[in-house]
């Protein structure tokens, strides 16, 4: 409510600048896009190095780094003709990629990236129930995927969409359960307050089991290898987006990296203490916000490397094995984490809530 209120009420100049910065640059529109571009480049280059290849080579500044390769790919995709298959449900087919990108980028709006010196947080929209909102946004994704897969009227798309739906729906349970233990520990649904609860000790140390469950659950949610079963190209060509071309395909690709951005931000918030870290002298002089953002981005980068690494070293698991693991390992572990959290309350309470 706070953000929109002063849109209606009229703004003074610094507030207006701040809003523009937030919405357009960080963490709004430009940041996920930039994140996507950098991560796509890094993923290609890094995986190539693991495979003893060079990776993208020619495009961009600095000799043979291929820095601008993702942008070149993006331009190429935009130029391409949009092909809608025969018998496809035109409206849903065309709507789905936009929805996917939108939903993926929405969750970024509720993540606090740094505290502001005078109180409040550097985020687009503050609400005390941001964790619930993000969980709600996550539930929308399977339906968009099913819609896209069904509307394409292709067998591969249908199988891919059904796999994606199964996987996403079944991993929401352990994910939500693990987040429950975080809520128990921090006593709030507010992401910013969760970060603040970790000022003395990070939750990754207090809840290692929860961290693993959430990491795997989040990787499953955004379908990264070894859990990229919906996109398994050896079986279903490219899964539910098989039929998409051109700009729509670019949107879906970008939405995947928006998801990655959101997921790494969330795990940073939940377990790695968000912006907390020693103040960087140079950045701190300009603004304490920058120092917070620096630590946040650093933690995100480490998580991103770990998640990307999965693609280089693990074969893909099978859908039934994944679902089995979700029910037999994921949910019990999450419940175990909740019980441990409850039983050890007397030890962690002084650490987290300051006694």
């Amino acid at each position: 409510m706070i953000g929109l209120e002063f849109l209606i009420l009229g703004l003074d100049f610094p507030q207006f600048i701040e809003l523009v910065l937030k919405v357009l640059i960080f963490p709004g529109l430009a940041f996920p896009l930039l994140f996507a571009i950098i991560v796509i480049w890094f993923e290609r280059k890094f995986l190539a190095r693991i495979m003893l290849r060079i990776g993208p080579l020619h495009i961009g500044p600095f000799n043979r780094t291929g820095l601008l390769q993702p942008i070149a790919d993006f331009i190429k995709l935009i130029q391409k003709e949009i092909i809608v298959p025969d018998n496809a449900h035109k409206l849903i087919y065309n709507l789905a990629p936009i929805m996917a990108a939108l939903v993926a980028s929405l969750s970024v709006a509720f993540i606090p990236y740094a505290p502001k010196p005078g109180g409040g947080y550097w985020m687009i929209f503050y609400t005390p129930f941001s964790l619930l909102v993000i969980l709600a946004i996550f539930t929308a994704r399977p339906f968009i995927i099913i819609a896209a897969g069904w509307a394409s009227n292709s067998k591969y798309c249908t199988i891919g969409a059904l796999r994606a739906a199964l996987q996403l729906l079944s991993y929401e349970v352990p994910l939500a359960l693990s987040l429950a233990s975080i809520v128990i520990m921090s006593g709030t649904f507010d992401l910013a307050k969760i970060v603040e609860a970790q000022s003395s000790i990070w939750f990754i140390i207090l809840q290692p089991i929860g961290f693993i469950v959430v990491l795997i659950g989040m990787m499953t949610e955004i379908a990264r290898r070894p859990f990229d079963i919906p996109f398994a190209e050896q079986e279903v060509v490219f899964g539910w987006p098989t039929e998409y071309t051109g700009t729509q395909f670019a949107l879906i690709m970008v939405s995947e990296y928006f998801d990655l951005c959101a997921v790494t931000s969330l795990i940073t918030v939940f377990f790695l203490g968000g912006w907390s870290g020693p103040a960087i002298p140079l950045l701190n002089d300009i603004s304490p916000i920058l120092s917070g953002i620096f630590w946040f981005l650093l933690k995100m980068a480490i998580l991103t490397v770990i998640i990307i690494m999965g693609r280089g070293i693990f074969p893909r698991v099978r859908i039934d094995q994944l679902l089995d693991a979700g029910w037999t390992i994921g949910i019990p572990l999450a419940i175990l984490q909740i019980s441990i959290t409850l039983l050890t309350a007397q030890w962690w309470l002084p650490l987290v809530r300051g006694g």
Partner: protein, 360 residues
């Protein structure tokens, strides 16, 4: 009950030049019907129209991009049996060296394809890179990288170049050490175990009944190898063992191939050590006498059978090629019954079928 007909191939990331017609119920494959013939070149008919010598480059293209040296060996064997020809000693050793180097290259290729089927692209690149060492060696020896036309009727065409022996031994040592990395990355990878163990189990009795050959048969625990059963060229002089699997699943089929690479390295070391000096080629008349012969050789993918009928002219009257992939193909529909869809690529690649080999 809703059964969906799914067609995989001939343009699909995993299918190569095959087409599989699947009956899919949900995520379960009920039946698989292979549709082959996309690379049919009629090599058996072509062979009837060409002289024995002209057939050399044609025959090796039965299995060109993996194992042309092993393929060619069988053709030469059958001609030489019909002619009653004894090849010079040094030529025999050189033939074996080319064939075994090719076997290593082929198995490395198979391993890399296998890891792609499971979705691990890193292990696509590593064996392919190391295969380059072998291809480079073969290029030094024969002048080509995949289609060598190296062995010829009555011997081989080129002698070993200078320094080949030392270089080859050095590279084999490297390859042996490198295999450890493959084990760490792929064969001991827990996720890989999940995907391949107990997938596509081919029981020994079924394997024999269906006529499966080569590493696939050995992975089921049947100890059959033409190199031991009917030693051709100089294989009876080498000391090597036949690796066999226990369960006959996809994992065993890959592991047997890895172990065979080790045995090939073993054979190559002995061959390079024992190779005698002497001529490498014998002059042979272009005419093959009247008669009939059937020879078998153990190529990388299994047993190649060549049935040749000569009519006393320069061209064969009939040349029947019985390639290993064609004989292994029948195991694919046999194994793909009531399995998850995700296992189809793994079973298919684990059988190491090559479309060219099936179609001829």
């Amino acid at each position: 009950m809703s059964i969906m007909k799914l067609s995989i191939g001939p343009q699909h990331p995993i299918s190569a030049h095959f087409r599989f017609l699947l009956d899919v119920d949900g995520d379960v494959v009920l039946k698989l019907e292979p549709d082959v013939g996309y690379t049919h070149r009629g090599i058996e008919k072509l062979a009837e129209k060409r002289t024995y010598l002209q057939n050399l480059p044609v025959i090796e293209r039965v299995n060109s991009y993996c194992d042309s040296a092993g393929t060619m060996l069988g053709y030469l064997e059958v001609i030489e049996e019909l002619m009653g020809l004894e090849v010079p000693e040094r030529a025999k050793y050189l033939r074996v060296i080319a064939a075994e180097l090719n076997r290593i290259a082929s198995h490395l290729y198979a391993a890399s394809l296998f890891s792609v089927a499971t979705g691990l692209e890193t292990m696509l690149m590593w064996p392919i890179n190391d295969r380059e060492l072998i291809l480079d060696l073969l290029e030094r020896l024969t002048g080509q990288r995949i289609t060598y036309t190296y062995q010829t009727i009555g011997g081989v065409r080129f002698d070993m170049p200078d320094g080949f022996k030392e270089e080859a031994l050095k590279r084999l040592d490297y390859l042996e050490k490198r295999t450890e990395d493959y084990y760490k990355m792929l064969l001991w990878n827990h996720t890989f175990h999940m995907r391949t163990k107990k997938v596509g189990i081919l029981r020994p009795s079924d394997a024999i009944k269906l006529g499966v050959v080569g590493p696939n048969l050995r992975a089921s625990g049947v100890k059959v190898d033409v190199r031991k059963d009917e030693p051709y060229e100089v294989y009876d002089r080498f000391d090597f063992s036949i690796p066999t699997g226990k369960n006959g699943d996809s994992y065993d089929r890959l592991e047997v191939r890895f172990k065979e690479v080790g045995q090939s390295i073993n054979i190559l070391r002995q061959a390079l050590k024992d190779i005698p000096k002497g001529p490498i080629k014998k002059w042979v008349p272009p005419i093959v006498p009247k008669g009939e012969a059937y020879t078998r050789v153990e190529a990388a993918r299994g047993e190649f059978g060549y049935h040749l009928i000569g009519d006393g002219s320069m061209k064969p009257y009939r040349l029947k090629i019985s390639p290993p992939s064609f004989r292994n193909l029948i195991a694919l529909p046999h194994l793909c019954q009531n399995i998850p869809l995700a296992d189809v690529p793994i079973i298919y690649i684990s059988l190491d079928l090559i479309p060219m080999d099936v179609d001829r």
